[in-house]
């Protein structure tokens, strides 16, 4: 029965739109008069889209892609990019035109205010352009270039909006990746399991998204319902007891179980694990496997150094990665990184900017909930991001660093941390004692992409081992065969065994020496 359901699920999957190349549309957008332009700006394209897709903007504007504002119903805490701290750039507040370049709209220049309310401000193209030449420019609050501009010493041409508008279709991996592969300010920086190698991944890198595999797109799993994406880092479904997602269900396929069910293995012993071990834990043996390094350490405390000529210092390591940047501090990178494993029940408790922190030790920016006795928790893989970032040692809050902007305070232009923080905190309207210190932080990013083919899944003995480098060596509190036992019992047991062996050897030797021949026949 399970097999049949499984097959049905797969068939349903193949029939549904969003599954890459299988579905073809009944509309050829290049034949629409309204898309023949000319378009002076992104919002003009959106206006044309909305003439037919009347509800699209209203739908998008309810999504977290638009609001950057989400309340976790489990903790009641209001979260989202505009509030929540991260260990990369810290906060988008006061850095908007740069950080809001990844907002799904145009012109959000102040994240202290809600996102724009004009339906034409929604950026349809960033998700739906299939011409491959539309992109938002990094510094214009979500707009693409409209005129040629010198960027990094090269003249960059604006995208052809007409071509983009006529090309629209279901989002591909490159659409989502335009923002999500570049989280943290560049390719592969933030997530570790999301980078540009996933645009055309090999089967080894991602068995689902590879053209040699299932050739799935992001939205095949992150199903959208009225432009609301499924799957969330703020509210993760750490375990999906519902299992297979059939057409009658809620069209939310963001868990592995949605297609694979919760007993997907042929071997019963492997299925025994699915209640306590997330699929990702075994099936993503390492992240950052696509040849692009992810940042594992970001130390803001060293930022701002200049050389003798007063020029900001930038140092590259032997792989060509910035190991030091005057703008951002010290970096370390990782490729093919073994994840960090933690119990996780889907409840994650991020620290917001302005919130009181405990500075007595290393600060965890997003505390994971769950433990071995929690029936909703499983062992999950994470990228553990480490670093140091500015905080107020008196008021015990994280500080907002104003890094980007055309003013006299932006750190990346003037390299004065006092000025930059003063600007950031004033802009945010948050109290600041005037003191700056740096606190070492950890941030946990669930690893769920870059699923390897089954042959490359983690082998049993990599966790079931008493060795100090076992994958679960630092995850105590539960019994795991091969790792745990009782020292006392082992000593007693081997004493009994060894004693018996020694005893019979002595007895045998005595028999030989004394040559006592029993007359038992």
């Amino acid at each position: 029965m399970r097999k049949i359901l499984h097959a049905l699920g797969m068939v349903a999957l193949l029939c549904l739109p969003g599954g890459a190349a299988w579905a073809s549309s009944t509309a050829d957008h290049s034949k629409f008069e309204s898309l023949k332009g000319p378009f002076a700006s992104g919002p003009e394209v959106t206006k044309a889209c909305l003439a037919c897709h009347t509800e699209a903007s209203h739908q998008v504007m309810k999504s977290v892609h638009w609001t950057w504002d989400i309340t976790n119903p489990q903790t009641g805490k209001r979260l989202g990019k505009a509030r929540t701290a991260n260990s990369f750039c810290g906060s988008p507040v006061s850095n908007e035109p740069r950080c809001t370049s990844c907002h799904a709209g145009y012109g959000w220049t102040d994240v202290r205010q809600p996102a724009p309310t004009d339906p034409n401000a929604v950026d349809c193209l960033v998700c739906h352009d299939r011409s491959g030449q539309y992109s938002k420019v990094a510094t214009d609050a979500g707009h693409p270039l409209y005129e040629p501009r010198m960027i990094g010493g090269k003249l960059k041409q604006p995208p052809d909006l007409i071509k983009a508008a006529q090309s629209v279709g279901d989002p591909g991996r490159d659409n989502c990746g335009a923002c999500h592969f570049n989280g943290g300010g560049g390719d592969a920086v933030k997530h570790g399991d999301l980078d540009s190698s996933l645009k055309k991944p090999s089967r080894e890198l991602d068995v689902h998204m590879s053209a040699d595999g299932a050739n799935m797109t992001c939205a095949t799993c992150h199903t959208f319902n009225d432009h609301i994406p499924s799957g969330s880092r703020y509210m993760t479904q750490a375990k999906d007891p519902h299992g297979l997602d059939l057409p009658k269900d809620d069209h939310n396929r963001a868990t592995c179980e949605s297609c694979h069910g919760d007993t997907p293995h042929q071997q019963a012993k492997l299925n025994d694990h699915t209640d306590k071990v997330a699929c990702q834990t075994c099936h993503i043996p390492e992240f950052a496997r696509g040849g692009i390094a992810t940042k594992t350490w970001w130390d803001w405390s060293t930022a701002g150094r200049k050389d003798a000529d007063g020029k900001p210092i930038f140092i590259k390591d032997e792989h060509g990665h910035l190991s030091y940047s005057a703008e951002k501090g010290d970096f370390r990178y990782g490729e093919n990184v073994r994840p960090t494993y933690r119990w996780y029940n889907g409840i994650i408790d991020p620290i917001n900017m302005g919130e009181n922190i405990d500075d007595s030790g290393i600060l965890v920016l997003n505390t994971l909930h769950g433990g071995p006795d929690d029936p909703k928790a499983r062992i999950w893989p994470f990228k553990e991001m480490r670093g140091k970032q500015p905080y107020d040692p008196e008021l015990k809050t994280l500080l907002i660093n104003h890094v980007f902007g055309q003013d006299d305070s932006a750190f990346w232009t003037h390299f004065d941390i006092q000025k930059a923080i003063k600007f950031g905190m004033e802009y945010a309207g948050m109290p600041w004692s005037g003191k700056i210190d740096f606190i070492e932080t950890r941030m946990y990013w669930p690893i769920t992409h870059m699923v390897a083919p089954k042959e490359q899944a983690v082998k049993c003995g990599e966790c079931h081992t008493g060795s100090a480098d076992g994958r679960l060596a630092d995850l105590p509190g539960f019994y795991m065969p091969g790792r745990d036992g009782s020292k006392l019992l082992d000593i007693l047991g081997f004493l009994a065994l060894g004693g018996a062996i020694a005893g019979v050897i002595v007895h045998g030797l005595l028999r030989i020496v004394l040559k006592g021949k029993s007359r038992h026949e």
Binding site: D272, D275, G461, H464, G493, A500, I501, R519, H520
Partner: protein, 216 residues
């Protein structure tokens, strides 16, 4: 009384003994791997072999229990008097050439110490292993209870303790096989099934007439 070579271990008994021996060695080796005492084979393979060998052994024990009761052989394992004499013999007498205090007969294949040892094996060590082993195998049927985490510890530790007892039993058992007429005499007996047993004339005539046991 005549000493005759009589088939005292029937074909099923020998099959039981040797297949049980192979399975127990397999289980001990793979069990120690799962326990983490060695890494000579991959963990997953060890679990697989351990599981199938355990199932095979349990099937064997079901058949053997049936066999023991239908043939009446279970009586061989009942408590016998004179156990202290046998213990004294192995501790001392065997070293100085005393005769064995017990005579093997058709109705008494085992001495008092053997009976006690095998009885312990069959009623304590064996059940401790298969009871905890079955609980362990069926973990997923009770893993949803809040106490399952603690219970798994208990089950695993009891299983390990019983395995050590089994290992100790096997070491002594194997050594005891060398205490016969010659060091390999008992092993040969367990392979061929024949051993020298003193038969009364009546017994001999009965066996010859009924062929209840082969005489060589």
């Amino acid at each position: 009384m005549n000493k005759r070579e009589v088939m005292i271990y029937t074909r099923y008994e020998r099959f039981w003994h040797w297949s049980q021996a192979i399975l127990i060695f397999t289980l001990f080796f793979t069990g120690l791997r799962v326990h983490g005492s060695h890494e000579l084979i991959p963990f997953g393979l060890a679990v697989n072999i351990h599981t199938w060998a355990a199932i095979a052994l349990m099937v064997l024990w079901v058949f053997t229990t049936f066999w023991n009761f239908t043939t009446g052989q279970w009586r061989q394992y009942l408590f016998k008097k004179g156990i202290m004499k046998v213990i004294r013999f192995y501790a001392y007498g065997i070293l100085v050439g005393e005769p064995h205090p017990y005579k093997k007969s058709l109705q008494r294949k085992q001495n008092a110490l053997q009976s006690l040892a095998y009885m312990t094996f069959m009623t304590l060590i064996g059940p401790a292993l298969w009871l905890t082993g079955i609980l362990y195998l069926l973990y997923n049927l009770w893993s949803h209870f809040s106490w399952s985490g603690e219970a798994l510890w208990v089950v695993a530790l009891l299983h390990t303790a019983a395995a050590f007892a089994m290992g100790t039993f096997v070491v002594i058992h194997v050594y005891m096989t060398t205490t016969g007429k010659t060091p390999l005499h008992y092993v040969k007996t367990m392979i061929t099934g024949y051993d020298a047993v003193e038969l009364s004339e009546v017994e001999e005539a009965y066996l010859k007439e009924t062929k209840a046991a082969d005489i060589r």
